[in-house]
């Protein structure tokens, strides 16, 4: 029986949410192709106890994998793939996977199909969809090489299943690794205060306008931006007032931005502002005036008091991010 193997990534000791989404993609692919589903993760067996129905759950353990390195993960994964001989190997499309999975694929003589949002089956051919031109176009790909086919799954593309006890005992897999083969020395991760602001390359922007009323209320949108992992921007009146620095201004006299998400809080949508952000892929507007022009270009709108909606949204995002 063929196997779909999903490599999970640990976050604070358990599989991250995007990993569970990749597992859901793996489950769907296994069902569609009549394969069995296996999951593997670097970390202790106990972390794999809530993955539901699986044919195999594998904890990869080695002291040289305690800290992520591309060399260590590439070697360990290549050995596991050699042992399981899967038809498909799925990954969550994370920074870490982007770092080592192309290397792994090359070692296996394959090419990773990266950042996949959907798949479909026609006959025995699986077609994978991924985005081109920053999401302006979809491309449909298929692998012309023999198994394994390596695929990374975009965050949010599949729904993670509810946690359920893992149906099989967790196996342990100890790869053979030499410290001399690990050439990079990773340091301890740290958080830095965000430095210079380049809004034009920010994927997520929370932008605040006149509706915020007072400088003291800026913290409300700062908290929202922080929860979302977004850059904070503003319309001209906020910067003119000195509530936020000029470098955060979006619009004809400020920066032109085209993020994946532009969340406009208390911004009515004067044309001078719209020209600076209308290229955004998704615009969300929160405004008390249902006739505000910002709603004409918004994909999603909430009509309401921002002093109620913003704290509720911040809380909901924090909860969703766990």
């Amino acid at each position: 029986m063929s196997t779909v193997l999903v490599f999970l990534e640990a976050k604070s000791g358990s599989p991250s949410r995007i990993s569970l989404e990749a597992l859901a993609a793996g489950a769907a692919l296994a069902t569609a192709t009549g394969a069995q589903l296996a999951a593997a993760m670097v970390g202790p067996a106990a972390a794999l106890d809530s993955l539901g129905t699986l044919a195999a759950a594998i904890s990869i353990e080695h002291p040289l994998l305690d800290r992520y390195t591309a060399d260590g993960y590439t070697a360990a994964c290549a050995q596991l793939v050699a042992r399981l001989q899967p038809d498909f190997v799925l990954f969550p499309h994370t920074y870490q996977v982007r770092d080592f999975a192309p290397r792994l694929a090359t070692r296996l003589g394959r090419v990773l199909i990266s950042d996949v949002t959907a798949f479909s089956l026609a006959g025995s051919t699986v077609t994978f969809t991924r985005q081109l031109f920053q999401g302006k176009l979809n491309g449909h790909y298929h692998s012309a090489a023999p198994a394994p086919c390596l695929v990374s799954i975009q965050a949010g593309a599949f729904h993670a299943a509810e946690p359920a006890p893992t149906s099989v005992p967790v196996e342990s897999f100890a790869p053979t690794l030499e410290s001399s083969a690990i050439r990079t020395q990773p340091g301890e991760p740290f958080r830095a205060a965000s430095q210079t602001v380049d809004l034009s390359s920010a994927p997520l922007i929370v932008s605040v306008g006149r509706g915020i009323k007072d400088e003291a209320n800026i913290t409300l949108v700062q908290e929202l931006a922080q929860a979302l992992g977004a850059e904070l921007a503003a319309s001209r009146p906020i910067c003119d007032a000195g509530w936020l620095p000029m470098e955060r201004q979006v619009g004809s006299s400020g920066q032109t931005v085209a993020p994946k998400l532009y969340l406009a809080v208390g911004i009515s949508g004067a044309i001078q502002h719209l020209v600076g952000m209308k290229g955004s892929q998704c615009v969300v507007a929160i405004n008390k005036d249902e006739n505000a022009p910002i709603f004409e270009i918004a994909d999603y709108g909430i009509v309401g008091d921002l002093f109620e909606v913003v704290p509720a949204l911040t809380a909901a995002i924090r909860k969703a991010k766990g």
Binding site: T106, T117, Q134, L137, G139, G229, G304
Partner: protein, 256 residues
């Protein structure tokens, strides 16, 4: 330090996306091309390293004749020479095929460092650099913001997710993929543009590199994503509207 910077020429970011008659790519007539953004930052890092430590910066790019313009632009900014892998059919290759061409084209160069952008603005695969490192048997690191030369090799600042960073040290030769936005890009000076015309630009025919192999990944077709720009209002109490928006951000916008 001898540094190779791999750059890609891509359509302008605001180029109008129309699907061509083959249904497999976009129509390229009346599209303007430019240097891929993160590759421009990779070039900037290379030029900064050269200014600090001396050495040579070599620009490498693959594609049709028009790619020569982008190489000249890099030369005008201060790169010393260029290598153009000439091919009119790059689109028929996958990332491994392109990386094989690059590895073959620089086989005699033996650089200390290879830099390239994190990913291209058109295909967005984000793989060619990492694949090249594996083909060359050298270590790599991706999403690099800062490069510092130290005795044992390089000390790097690497971007992690959610506002986290880490330092990484690695020996040279190495390959790094560079994240956009950490430095200010320089403009070519008039003098630079003049000088660029006399700098060496070697053209290598892709077919002569002998890497020909069947691609293992095929792009069958492209399609415009279905999008409705009508505003979807999210009703209810603040908490209900917030929960509905979070669900949209997760499932539709996919930013959470």
């Amino acid at each position: 330090m001898k540094i190779i910077v791999a750059i890609k020429q891509v359509p302008e970011r605001d180029a109008r996306i129309r699907i061509d008659s083959s249904g497999r790519w976009i129509a390229l007539d009346d599209i303007e091309f430019r240097m891929n953004e993160s590759d421009a930052y990779a070039l900037e890092e290379a030029l900064l390293l050269k200014e600090a430590h001396g050495g040579e910066v070599i620009v490498l790019s693959a594609g049709p004749e028009r790619v020569g313009q982008t190489i000249r632009e890099a030369l005008a900014k201060g790169a010393d020479r260029g290598i153009h892998i000439a091919s009119d059919s790059l689109a028929s290759l996958d990332a491994l095929g392109v990386a094989r061409l690059m590895a073959a084209a620089i086989a005699d160069e033996h650089p200390d460092l290879i830099l390239t952008g994190l990913q291209s603005d058109d295909l967005g695969l984000g793989q060619t650099g990492v694949i090249l490192a594996e083909l060359l048997g050298i270590p790599h690191s991706s999403l690099i913001l800062k490069i510092e030369k130290i005795e044992s090799g390089l000390r790097l600042l690497r971007e992690l997710e959610d506002g986290w960073f880490q330092h990484i040290t690695l020996p040279t030769p190495a390959l790094l993929t560079i994240q956009s936005g950490n430095t200010k890009l320089r403009y070519a000076t008039l003098m630079g543009i003049k000088k660029a015309k006399t700098k060496e630009l070697r053209t290598v025919d892709a077919a002569s590199l002998g890497t020909g192999s069947q691609p293992s990944l095929l792009l069958d077709s492209v399609a415009l994503p279905s999008r409705q720009k009508t505003t979807q209002m999210l009703p209810g109490s603040p908490a209900e509207a917030a929960a509905a928006l979070v669900a949209k951000l997760q499932q539709e916008v996919r930013v959470l």
